[in-house]
Amino acid sequence: MIPVRHLTATELPEPDAEAGFGTLHTERGNLPLTSLDIAAEVTGPAVRTELTQEFRNPFDEPLEATYIFPLPDRAAVTALSLRADGRTVEGVLRERGQARADYQQAIAAGQRAAIVEEERPGVFTMRVGNIAPHEQVTVRVVLAGLLPFDDGEATFRFPLVVSPRYIPGTLLAGESVGAGTSPDTDAVPDASRISPPVLLPGFPNPITLSATVDIGPAGLAIGEISASLPVRTEEHGTGLRVRLNPGERANQDFILRLRLDETPGSFAVRDGIFALTLVPPTEAGIARPRDVVLVLDRSGSMGGWKMVAARRAAARIVDTLTDADSFAVLAFDHTVEWPTDLPHGLVPANDRNRFRAVEHLAGLAPRGGTEMLAPLQTAAHLLAGRSGRERVLVLVTDGQVGNEDQILQAIAPNLTDIRVHTVGIDTAVNAAFLTRLAALAGGHSELVESEDRLDVAMRAIHHRIATPLVTDLQITGGSLDADTVAPQPIPDLFPGAPLVLTGRLTGDPESVTVVGTATDGSEWRHTLTAHPSENAALGAIWARARIRDLEDRYAIGAVEASAELERRIIATSLEFGVLSRFTAFVAVDSRVVNEGGGPRQMTQPVDLPAGWTPRAPMRATAAAAPMAVSMNAGSFDIAMPLSHPASPGFAGPADEAQVLYGPRRERGQAKAKRTVAREHVQVVQVGDYSGPIPDSVREFAAREKKKLLESASLGLAERAKALVELAESIGEALPEFVTAGLGQREIVLLNTFAAGWAKRIGLERRWQDALDLLEKLIGQSAQPEQRRSFWKR
């Protein structure tokens, strides 16, 4: 996060005319989306946002553009408008099938039209059709929401890109249901609707991104703003305007954190809707002994800083446990892995076990797919039946899976009396899924977009997995329709996290009383007096929260209940004009611009999220190889075998690998003669060393060589162990080597060594290869003539 300095008017730089909103950039190629603009107004905890998307048809024929895009998961979409050729058309909200039919009919009739549909609580699809040749059209989406508020800080989070997701399951027969790139599967029947094409790094910024957030003066402590992207602030009326600097890419969440004065509890009413804010008691509760299962995502998408942050978060959580607690640590990709030095199961959280767990965490490197359900089921199974203790499951992940509904549906029945907290780590995290999972099981979701943010979040992390201060909350009296309270079930009160409940009123209450149970078992009672709300969007905000509850019940519940839930979702959605899974906004311009109908179709490609490395593609055989013993930080995706078996888009094909790994072997080589080891040697043909070896690397190599030689006379097992330790040391030291300026080729070689290559051939040969490698780094070769370097074999 970047602390924001408040500039005076004279300090403000002139807006960049070249990079401003709406500038045409013809050199950007033929992508339909030209700009995104976010204009938000924050008033206390309420926020109203207008998202403007501009599309331009670069072709000589009419175009239908499809854009798969994210929105804040808690926000209500309340309006859509379409502007083209001097006229603005307001969208109408209809049942989804009807809206799609209306849209299709308009496109076939040659009219301009736009439709926005919800694929997930955070993922949407915009289609804009019959854009005339070289014409520019503008669509605008209006959102209403409340800013989440924790530890005195409100968070404005606006996602800008839908990240690639892991798609499990078997392929479905039949035409895809969407315009994205992943085929639909039985686990993710709409995978093709959440998978936009991905731009490779180096592609020129395809869109102009702009954002302004106006912050009303209410409760804001000036100067206490931090942002995930570079911004500047200026006076705006009685408040502040925060403006995103021009030139940023839409490849991560735009986050502003605002320090606000302590919110008092309140009971605001307006037009038959209430919003109830409950503040947790400040006195500490009595902690119960806990059983904690920590589930850590170490899949391939967790590469780079994310893996480091995940390990840090997990290690810190383990450190907050006490001797009275017990715990287990599970790491998963497509398999579930236990710490090697700990028994499988819950163990006492004594110092020794905590240390072993933390040590194990330190060695985790990213790899493989994201089969999230199995570890969650294992964790739930471990915690089941441990009565009298606080049962806690903590999931640390980026949440980049496509089978959210399948996971929730399968895990929900097993989470009785288990609290699930989620720690989301990514620049473009799947916030919707992580908040849904936590809310389902009475927990809290903490989202971390950088290591700096983790520093801050760590200070409060013990709050996050602490015992709640007040449980079993119920609202009594005050003409409230208890069935309509959202979210449901009513969450517990945690330290530092005020709770906002919304619902419908049946009368005109003067006050409301909330009753709950404190940690010592006594009754906690709180009465609040009603006051009129100033938030005109209160109805929409309640409707969205309500629809989310119903959508989750639809996803989790029995199929038999589906029809009734769908009916209720549609009714609430249409009554309050709020988008849902079963409705869509459609806008149709009556003018005919494409007599023949049938426009050309194109799906907007999007950036890879910031901090992601395109997975270096390798051959399938290499991808199946075991991963690094201890490859630090995953910052060496360049040599990382990747496997996302069910997600064909993730792993690039073999021929792309040659860009990184040198020439491809000839085809037709007798396949039966190729051993696994050969396969790897082929892949790492990178030629000779490229540059001078930095001194620190030279010293490292000398040290390691000495160690290796010291164990030369020992038995096979000890020597094998020495090689494994060498691989681990190299893995740990690689980031420093990069900083020290070691050449790319050496890094690839070292990384390949660390990643386990060295363990695949006979001990004598790998022993010699290790010495060979170290000697090359030291700058001397013992017997240069006798043997070709191993990478040339």
Partner: protein
Amino acid sequence: MTTEAHWTIDELAQLVGEALAVDYSGQSNGRVREVPDRRTIRWYTTIGLLDRPAAMRGRTALYDRRHLMQLVAVKRLQADGRSIAQVQEALLGADDRTLTSLARLPEPAAPEPAARAIDTAPARFWAAHPARPTPPRAALVPSLRLADGVTLVLDGAPRQLDAADLVAIADAATALLNVLHDRGLATPTDAAPTEGGQA
């Protein structure tokens, strides 16, 4: 189900190979000469170089002439020494005219695709529930004894093993057997000579 003219992914790959064989100026780089395999084709879809399939018949993706031009254009640009990122820059959103000039498809043009029945997308996909994950059912799977006490179970293999498989796997297994022996996890055999030298 309706009927339209399309190629399967294998037919498409073959046509790409035939197109590249004619008027192929690339010479330097062996890799770009190769016909893209299925995995490559799917990856190109992910990064937008290839439109998604024109239609589906069951689980079979079907492609048309525009896909052929896109793939040939990718290969020709690569043959000119462009990186895949540069190819993406050049080809994303390319119209048919651009593709035609880049692809330089030989005359006469590729054969007309066969007429095939295609499926329509399911209606009301947004109401669909994902499949419930099922526990694995009992099934026969291929397995293979590499050495005494070391058996390889291939529970993802789509077919039984043939003689060529056995030779290739036995060859590849040598290194693994060495490791297992090194670590005292398997008895050495003739198939896996080790430094220990025991017979």
